[in-house]
């Protein structure tokens, strides 16, 4: 039997999840709309002063992105769990971590990437400068995959539990705080004219760390949850 390479396995899994997501577009769109609505609610809540909004923008967009990614976490493993495909994945004679990584990447492409693409439009709503919007996009690109990966651990741990959604937020949100701080900090650094690169490199470091450990931890959590 010819064994598949890990890259082959990765691409099969990513393609499968993307096809599945495309056949259920409504879910993807819902997350995006949630993100846009949350961000748009803030000016209505705190008033339309342009100066204040400009200062708030990075924080608001980041918090909304965090909440939106929490919202979509439930879908990451639960559908596969319910129809039994997850069981079969545990029996795949290759590393489960690779499959998990593929699922996380696919999940990020359908739930994280749209947020990043949408963010500039929202930045304009908040009257952000072109430069800070640029940094916002880079920070989101570095930060949202980390959020997906940390979230995946939470989703795996709470698989099949009642009240999973709220529980996942309780577990995952505290762990996401560093990403939030550096992500919003990068944009604030542009506004206040201090160094951006340190924030971005810290975000990058978090991403690398998450990339190295979370697929493995998530795989372990899945095995525990499937017992």
């Amino acid at each position: 039997m010819n064994k598949l390479s890990l890259i082959g396995l990765l691409s099969i899994m990513i393609r499968r999840d993307l096809v599945l997501a495309m056949r259920r577009r409504a879910d993807v769109v819902t997350t995006l709309i949630f993100f846009v609505i949350v961000v748009s609610l803030f000016p209505l809540g705190v008033g339309p002063e342009a100066d204040m909004l400009r200062n708030m923008a990075p924080g608001v967009i980041w918090v909304a992105a965090l909440l939106a990614s929490m919202l979509s976490l439930g879908r990451l493993f639960s559908a596969d769990h319910l129809d039994g495909t997850l069981e079969q994945m545990l029996l795949v004679p290759q590393s489960l971590s690779v499959l998990v990584l593929a699922k996380i990447l696919a999940h990020w492409m359908v739930s994280g990437l749209p947020l990043v693409i949408m963010a500039p439009v929202l930045g304009l709503q908040f009257d952000m400068t072109a430069q800070s919007i640029g940094v916002l996009i880079i920070a989101l690109l570095l930060g949202t995959p980390t959020l997906s990966m940390i979230g995946a651990v939470g989703a795996a741990l709470t698989l099949g539990l009642r009240g999973g959604g709220a529980l996942v937020s309780l577990l995952v949100l505290p762990l996401c705080i560093p990403v939030l701080i550096f992500g919003a900090g990068a944009v604030e650094a542009v506004i206040s004219g201090t160094s951006v690169s340190s924030h971005l490199s810290l975000l990058g470091a978090l991403l690398v760390m998450a990339l190295a450990f979370t697929p493995w931890v998530t795989a372990l959590a899945l095995r525990i949850s499937m017992e």
């Binding site: 039997m1 010819n2 064994k3 598949l4 082959g8 396995l9 099969i12 899994m13 499968r16 096809v19 599945l20 056949r23 259920r24 319910l82 129809d83 039994g84 495909t85 069981e87 079969q88 994945m89 545990l90 029996l91 795949v92 004679p93 290759q94 590393s95 499959l99 095995r223 499937m226 017992e227």
Partner: protein, 204 residues
Amino acid sequence: MLEISNLACSRGDHLLFSGLNFSLSPGELLQVQGANGSGKTSLLRTLCGFIMPDTGEILWHGQNIRELGDQFYAEIIYLGHLNAIKDELNALENLRIGAGLAGCKMDDKQVIAALRRLGLRGRETLPVKVLSQGQRRRVALARLLLSNASLWILDEPLTALDVGAVELMQELISEHLVNNGMVIYTTHQPLEVVGVATRRLALT
């Protein structure tokens, strides 16, 4: 060669079975019997390595399956209560992806042949969600034809199947046994394979 020695398993604080010993050689068929809740499914899931046994060992060709890991997974196929097929995909896609993950490269001809053998001619490209329960089960069973695993672990393979499909299933099992395969299954329906003595394991 699968050997089980002194296996005990509990769910929560409830002990399901203990001191279980049996072995299975190539060409043998084992039926696990027992009332509802006697631990049939748990036994099969323990054999797959999902559940860690409380005590005891599961040996595959003399080696513990925990140590073998991926090598063991490459030699088994498990069919659970759930069909493990995606409603949004069609039968062909489901099987192609399933086989791909298991590490076999499949061309569509083989997949279509397997589906036709299971009586799904003309339904290969319909989304699975429009198929009936029995037809979905047949899609799941088609996976057996596409894998070259030597140990089949089947949990209630006959649910939702009609008489014709049950006969077909008997045929598939007997072919597999002739090729020196091994089968462990649970069922509440009669399943007799011609020419092979079914060994029975009763759980209480």
